[in-house]
Amino acid sequence: MRPVYVVSGGVSKFTKARPDKTFVGLVKEAYDYALADLGVEHPRFFELVDGTVASYFSDHFTRQLMAGIMAQDYLGMCPKPSHRVEGGGATGGICFQEAWKAIASGYMDVCLAYGFEQMSHVETWKGNEFIALASDVSFDYPVGGFYSGYYAMMVTRHMAEFGTTVEQLAHVSVKNHINAYHNPYAQKRQRLTIADVRAAPMVAWPLTRLDICVMSDGAAAVILCSEDGLAKLEKAAGRSLARVKVGGIGRGTDAMRMADRPHQSLEDFYKYNALPNEMDADARAYYTNLWAKGFRYPGVHSFRAGRMASREAYKNAGIHDPLHEIDFVELHDAYTSSEIQTYEDMGLCRYGEGGAFAASGKTFMPGLDYGLKLPEKPACPINPSGGLIACGHPVGATGLMQGVFAFWQLEGSIEKHFGDPALQVPNARRGAIHSHAGTGTYVTVSILEKEA
């Protein structure tokens, strides 16, 4: 595989509704921002780009099949090669990785990944129905199809297994909303308290409205390239570009119906799922004790796909101790609970420790006042942008939005793009982006690194 670089990105403002633009107009906004930041105009970029990948989740929201080619057409990318990818909530992350593959394989030198979702064309309850159609329509959807309900069942099991509390969940909401206060692209920029989160209307017990991301209209675009592509773009831009490399990618899957997820033995966990930082005697003793209490993996409390995606990405990027070798993570926090579950999947803490880890302070940004008493210093800020909970979740754009924000972090240009330096992770050298589909069916993890 050849080295792959991220060289530019753009994001439209995520918001509840953008009736002023059709989806192609939103994609154009993100693309134009990425080009302007690169310093190359469209006709010149068109000469250099080899192809594109389009990302959007639901044909229902747009009520338009083949929406990918409409965006391709509107961007002025025809007749270059392109295809659409779809994988639920992970669509954007998959798109990023498909563009990576196009470069890494030698098929392309420059590839544009763009994604969008315009969810405001239907009311929220109808949108929930469209999203719930991404569950088994024979056995899951008819029982009460509602993704927040599915995730809430995972939460109750996590609470029962590990003693995770709703206050620990609320720490994630407070953190991400306050981070987003400094991000002008975010949909919900709010200073919340734990009490605010718990007092919000209950949606699916124990998840309140402030534990759950909202539907959004938005688009994002990322430009990836090879060494040769980078040289061509630098020549076109007339300047040196930041060298942010994709250090490794990983992807995992799990059964569509969470009812079908296995309940594996400790031996199988260590054979198939454990991370390098779980191999020492201390970790083995911890997990042996957990299994002795009846814990089985992954059950409905853990995302095996997220673990497998992390495992593969870490292997490819040479990461052995993720908490100390990754400087920040933009992860798929559609629910506060899924952020906590993902800490465990990504090996930032052990399975069962996610709740305490969420309230420890390790995942918070340094220098921001959260109004919380946090026992420990920040170690690896999670969702410095505000994540999905605060930025919004226009599904096909979300994973690419993470790519753009991670690129800006590593480029050291957060202040330039946000107009505020507060969210710049100090000395960021390596970041991870994590994209996740329905109850952990598809998960992608990609590692981005600033080259020395």
Binding site: V143, A259, D260
Partner: protein
């Protein structure tokens, strides 16, 4: 005569008309159109599918007859509470086996909001049921509890399936009650 058989003008009527006029620049200067507010229209869409349950059909026939069947891999005995025609490990075809739909709550939630189709039923309780004879879970509704009294202590409580008298050929043809000791 040609004009009558193939009229060139559409016969205008009021069907589908939602507006009779919109502001528009009168002259040649169209630059103000860039400031125009977007037009948002209603666009109904309805579909009726002829949906097949395919290899899972016997499960629904069983529910209609007040019986619950699961899928078992013949060699390993691994049993799926939710129908699955082929085993995910061996790839072998599974066999139907009848089980007693009694078990315990593995996970649950109370939905106070939901998809449009289920809004009238809110709040309702979803549970993942753990059957003794099965290796996987089954998603169902828990009926007969106070949805406002949700408690993590519900996990582990024994439940028993009950069948709708008039089947709808949906997985909700079976629902669950707490099994009082």
């Amino acid at each position: 005569m040609t004009d009558e058989k193939f009229p060139k003008r559409i016969d205008d009527n009021l069907e589908g008309t939602v507006v009779f006029n919109l502001p528009f620049p009168a002259g040649e200067d169209l630059s103000s159109l860039k400031q125009m507010a977007p037009l948002v229209i209603k666009q109904p869409y309805a579909i009726e599918y002829n949906y097949s349950y395919g290899q899972d059909s016997p499960f629904f026939a069983a529910l209609t007859n007040g019986r619950f069947i699961a899928c078992r891999e013949p060699q390993s005995g691994y049993t799926y509470a939710t129908p699955r025609g082929h085993d995910m490990y061996s790839g072998n075809e599974t066999a139907w086996v009848e089980i007693t739909p009694e078990g315990k709550i593995h996970a649950f939630t109370v939905c106070h909001f939901g998809s449009e189709a289920f809004l009238p039923e809110c709040p309702f309780v979803l549970i993942q049921v753990e059957f003794e004879a099965c290796d996987t879970l089954f998603l169902g509704r828990l009926i007969g509890v106070d949805p406002q009294a949700a408690s993590i202590d519900w996990i582990g409580r024994p439940v028993k399936g009950r069948f709708l008298r008039n089947a709808k050929l949906k997985p909700t043809d079976i629902y669950f009650n707490l099994l009082e000791k």
